[in-house]
């Protein structure tokens, strides 16, 4: 058990190191001085003296690269990611803390729905293979998953938001309502999240269904399934405890790919629905050439993705006794 988790942890640390290095190298390898660009982009909000502080914080000190890298790492792990340029002098960490809950809301709820519904449909489709649901929903939802998220987001926005005018199409809640633990605010948040969630679920559902169905079909050929049937267990028990319980393992290992897909979807969908999450903030940072904010967001996103992967590893460990040492 320790071996498995520590080797996985090692990957994540390495992956985070790659992201850090990427962040460190980019401004140094790109043509032009990034601080000149930032200075220009800030439109006078930053004074030259403050720019010098920023430079130091990002490791732009005189000296060889490894010294710079060390300064950079120290800067990052001090927990201070510097001020944003667009929202100067608000600290980057504060901006991230403000937008993170929105993204987690979308990611969490949509994943919960797509995973539970997708896996159940996958199990059902494999069990009734060649049946009505399997012949229509399996290829249909899988193809829907290949539907570009920006297109489905625009169509959904157009249909439900503009044409039918059922639900709000922009922002995370009605700004006229005071934020707080009130039912009114909660309903406003829910109605604003509805269309982005619908888009995310539509694009995510098919992937889970497809993975689970194919894994189930491979598992159903195993001897222990036949033995389960021979034991006179109910069809339901064989399906869940014998087939699905085994078929889910390869699905859990494929989580990494699905998380990448989800992050890409969040970025685009938050932009289209002008949702106040991390993805939308990232695009704001890109267009404002706000490098401190951009790098803070990137490291946060990478960190969250790695944590999600680690949670999937824990789930795998819990599901597969073969990995636990006796």
């Amino acid at each position: 058990m320790g071996g498995y988790l520590s080797s996985r942890l090692f990957y994540y640390i390495a992956a985070f190191a790659v992201a850090l290095t990427f962040n460190f190298l980019l401004p140094r390898l790109m043509p032009g001085d990034p601080f000149e660009i930032m200075f220009a982009a800030s439109q006078g909000k930053i004074q030259p003296a403050q720019l010098e502080v920023l430079k130091e914080q990002f490791g732009f000190v005189s000296g060889p690269w490894h010294v710079q890298f060390w300064e950079y790492i120290k800067g990052i792990f001090s927990g201070d990611l510097g001020p944003s340029l667009i929202y100067y002098p608000t600290p980057v960490t504060e901006i991230i803390a403000g937008s993170m809950p929105w993204t987690l809301l979308l990611a969490g709820v949509s994943s919960f729905i797509s995973i539970t519904v997708g896996l159940s449909l996958g199990i059902f489709a494999a069990y009734h293979r060649g049946g009505k649901l399997d012949s229509i929903a399996s290829p249909g939802l899988t193809l829907l998953g290949a539907f570009p998220q920006m297109v489905s987001a625009m169509l959904i926005l157009f249909l439900f938001g503009l044409h039918l005018d059922w639900l709000p199409i922009s922002y995370g809640y009605d700004p006229d309502i005071d934020a707080g633990w009130t039912l009114e605010f909660f309903l406003s948040v829910a109605s604003h999240a509805a269309l982005p969630l619908l888009t995310l679920v539509i694009s995510g559902l098919g992937g889970w269904l497809f993975l689970m169905r194919n894994s189930m079909i491979n598992t159903l050929g195993e001897d222990y399934i036949t033995m389960g049937k021979a034991k006179g267990l109910s069809g339901r028990r064989v399906m869940v405890q014998y087939a699905a319980r085994n078929a889910i393992l390869p699905v859990v290992t494929a989580v990494a790919l699905n998380i990448g897909f989800l992050v890409a979807g969040l970025l685009i969908i938050e932009m289209i629905f002008n949702y106040p999450g991390v993805g939308n903030m990232m695009l704001t940072a890109v267009s404002g050439r706000d490098y401190p904010l951009l790098q803070g967001l990137l490291l946060t996103i990478v960190g969250c993705v790695l944590v999600a992967n680690f949670l999937a590893d824990l789930a795998y460990l819990w599901l597969d006794p073969r990995l636990r040492k006796s």
């Binding site: 001897d223 036949t226 033995m227 021979a230 034991k231 006179g232 014998y242 006794p321």
Partner: protein, 327 residues
């Protein structure tokens, strides 16, 4: 041993004219063709033949475990006066394991890898005895492991923590869980080394002595069968070609195929003889000949064998064989 046990016995499972076909594209391939025989109470019957002769297909069909593309097209399997093949899902569920349990070919793959042995014993106990409480289930599970020679402390372990031999014992323990009247064993020791095979077969004999169940032992290994069975049925290309008490099959085989099969194994009693085997390959079931299916490989074939397929001829009350030479 065989003579007296057969005489006293009454039928437990009566297989009548069972045929199983495989659906391959638009064609049908007959894997089991009109097979009939009876398994008596307390009796051990061997079912022998080359791989691909339909013996495993037959075994699966007996409890309706056939998987696509296999279809049971004809026949009845009478157990306690009822046709098992006509059972619906619910009747089948109640019949399975309670009356007839199955020990599968590979213990490696027939245990569920992600749930403990305990759960795999208890789930079958619980589903057939809903009244049993937790403590009773545990006691019974421990007892079952003890019966097959596994220390009960290993109850909560998972299949991957067991050696090959132990897994096969665990499967045996599960098969005994409901004290079935018949255990179908499909090549139960093929994957094991000879020493472990020996131990398990000895154990099986003891258990049979103790509980008095019947066994249908499917194997390609006649010498293994010779030790434990009362009667042996021999299949070739989906058809039953000979059935007789074990001694008759081993020492007085009548069908040329059985003779070849007997000759391809070393003698049990250690007497030296030349192992001949059977020339040629198993026939192509897609293209069955008009005559005897074994004709092409048969060393004693005649003109008549090419023309018509022989029927199963009764040689004496216990011995039947399917060959023109015997009529």
């Amino acid at each position: 041993m065989s003579e007296q046990s057969v005489k006293q016995s009454q039928p437990l499972m009566d297989i009548r004219g069972l045929s199983v076909e495989y659906l391959v594209g638009d064609r049908r391939l007959r894997a089991v063709d009109n097979v009939s025989f009876t398994i008596n109470k307390g009796e051990t019957v061997g079912l022998a033949g080359e791989s691909g002769c339909g013996k495993s297909t037959l075994a699966f069909a007996l409890t309706k475990l056939q998987k696509p593309p296999a279809l049971i097209v004809e026949g009845e399997v009478i157990f306690d006066g009822k046709d098992v093949l006509a059972f619906d899902e619910e009747e089948l569920r109640r019949f399975r394991w309670k009356e007839t349990s199955v020990v599968f070919q590979s213990a490696m793959n027939c245990l569920n890898p992600v749930i403990s042995i305990n759960q795999q014993i208890c789930d079958v106990l619980r589903v057939h005895n809903p009244a049993m409480n937790r403590g009773e289930l545990q006691d019974r599970a421990r007892e079952l492991l003890r019966i097959v020679g596994i220390h009960p402390d290993r109850l909560n372990q998972y299949p991957h923590q067991f050696s090959g031999g132990m897994r096969q014992r665990a499967v045996l323990a599960i098969s005994l869980a409901l004290k079935p009247q018949l255990i179908i064993m499909d090549e139960p020791t093929t994957a094991l080394d000879v020493v472990v095979e020996r131990e398990i077969m000895d154990q099986l004999s003891e258990l049979k002595e103790q509980f008095g169940f019947s066994i249908l032992l499917i194997s390609h290994d006649l010498s293994l069968m010779g030790e434990i069975t009362d009667r042996i049925a021999v299949m070739y290309a989906g058809k039953l070609v000979e059935i007789a008490p074990t001694e008759d099959v081993l020492f007085r085989p009548q069908h040329p195929y059985t003779k070849g099969l007997v000759n391809s194994f070393p003698d049990l009693l250690g007497e030296k003889k030349e192992l001949t085997g059977i020339a040629g390959n198993p026939m192509n079931l897609f293209n069955p000949p008009a005559g005897c299916y074994f004709e092409e490989r048969c060393p004693e074939s005649t003109e008549q064998c090419k023309k018509s397929d022989p029927t199963l001829i009764t040689l004496n009350s216990q011995h039947k064989a399917k060959c023109h030479l015997l009529s």
